[in-house]
Amino acid sequence: MRRDPNDLDRYTASERVIHWVVGISFILAGLSGLALFHPAFWPFTMLFGSSIWTRILHPYFGLLMGVAFLVMAVWFWRLNRMNRVDWEWLRRVGEMVNGNDEHMPEQGKYNGGQKLLFWLLLFGTILLLFSGVVIWRAWFHFDINQVRLASVVHAAVAAVMIGLIMVHIYASIWVKGTIRAMWYGTVTRAWARQHHRAWYRYMTGLGNGQSR
């Protein structure tokens, strides 16, 4: 159902579904992982049945997140290729954070920050997958020094990724009219014009638009 015939399609149903799969499995993997990372988060084990279930389930949440994210990355990587304007946008991200986005360089479907986030998350997911398998004692027996290194890598990369995702979630809350793109797949024309003007023109056929 479309509220307004002028709304622009941003995500197909399958794109939204895979994003929710990644999002939910990331939160489950994150909460169960944090429970083991620091005693302050130990109460999170209660969310998963017991501390032992937390240890059993975490790698499967992680695997689901990792595989779903890789699928999503295959679908989206073209749109996330960085160009000169994206670097320019990133250099001036301070203005954006300050709330003065009128003069920011025109952006395609994604801005420089979103693209950078994409590549960082892709890199991080690959590291988490590899290091996670190395420390998964239920199934694997790696050399002790590899396990020690992988333990640090896994915890550090997970912490960085959780930080990035917190910023990602905040950005979607801060920029009004964004979250509906993940509910219904559409955004208003005004939203597109304000935040992704090149994409707006591309989608509406008004002038020389750009998909990315």
């Binding site: 005693p39 020094n145 014009r193 304000q194």
Partner: protein
């Protein structure tokens, strides 16, 4: 209140101090390798007392049997045939938990109370709190804890904490027929080791010495070695065991750094929203879009 002999001084995944008013005596087991004949009575006594029955394995052609520590084998005699200056030496080491004063297993364990160190120095695993992650294996510099394939809990030598609690010596020490194993206060064990080392030196083992590695702040299981300058000759006893620096970062710096960063992002987001307000589409843009759409 616990028994004084079982007062806990350190507890895994616990950030507040343990009750510490009572001063317990530090204990130690001394393994005098020069007096060991490799009879394995201690290995049997350990199985007896702790009700452990490993599956019958097969002989690999050496005396080591079973081939490695496991959840049913908390102590294991390891045999090394060493040719040293044209002499054959049979170095027999009783392997098992060293009960480190600074235990890497306890430092790495994420489950509150799964690993404790009593005030007398004994490091004990409480399997009812264990989640089976195996972090203790990652943390241990001596390759000691083993996960059970059956119940996915970690096991290792308890130094017979149940016996020690009631003033008994560990089962292995009680059983040893040659007097190679001793148990008592750590001080008394060091004194005894000094006599043994002096004796060995007088018999030509000029490098005899005590193995009480400072890298883990000393251990509550110590060895008298004929060749203290070559601990690695004894089935790879580590020369200078320490908690791995990777484990140090993982369990040290990484924790406050990660928590600090997450807290900072949360607070920065909240205050950003409060100070800057939401980023809404401007009325102007809405109007422009209306015009563009109509035309």
């Amino acid at each position: 209140m616990a028994w004084q002999s079982l007062d806990i001084q350190r507890r895994s995944a616990t950030t507040t101090p343990a009750p510490g008013a009572r001063q317990a005596t530090e204990v130690a087991k001394l393994i005098d390798i020069s007096q060991c004949i490799g009879c394995k009575a201690c290995q049997v006594a350990c199985m007896e007392w702790n009700d452990l029955r490993g599956e019958v394995g097969h002989c690999a052609g050496v005396y080591d049997n079973p081939g490695d520590l496991d959840s049913q084998t908390w102590t294991l005699m390891r045999y090394t045939e060493l040719e040293n200056n044209g002499r054959l030496e049979w170095l027999i080491r009783k392997d098992g938990c060293m009960h480190c004063q600074d235990p890497g297993c306890l430092k790495a364990c994420p489950a509150p109370g799964a690993i404790v160190q009593y005030a007398n120095g004994i490091v004990d695993f409480h399997q009812e709190n264990c989640i089976g992650c195996g972090y203790c294996i990652t943390g241990c510099p001596f390759n000691i804890p083993r996960l059970s394939e059956k119940d996915h809990k970690a096991y290792k030598c308890s130094l017979c904490s149940d016996r020690v609690a009631v003033g008994q010596s560990p089962a292995c020490v009680k059983t040893c027929p040659t007097g190679a194993l001793h148990f008592g206060s750590k001080e008394a064990m060091k004194d005894h080791a000094e006599h043994r080392i002096a004796d060995l030196k007088s018999r030509g083992f000029s490098n005899a010495g005590l193995y009480d590695p400072p890298g883990v702040s000393g251990t509550h299981v110590m060895y008298v070695l004929q060749h203290a300058d070559h601990p690695e000759w004894y089935s790879g006893l580590p020369r200078d065991p320490k908690i791995s620096p990777w484990v140090g970062i993982w369990k040290g710096l990484a924790k406050p750094l990660a928590i600090g960063a997450m807290a900072a992002i949360t607070l920065a987001s909240l205050f950003h929203y409060i100070i800057k307000g939401p980023n809404e589409v401007s009325k102007e843009t809405e109007k422009e879009v209306e015009n563009e759409t109509r035309s």
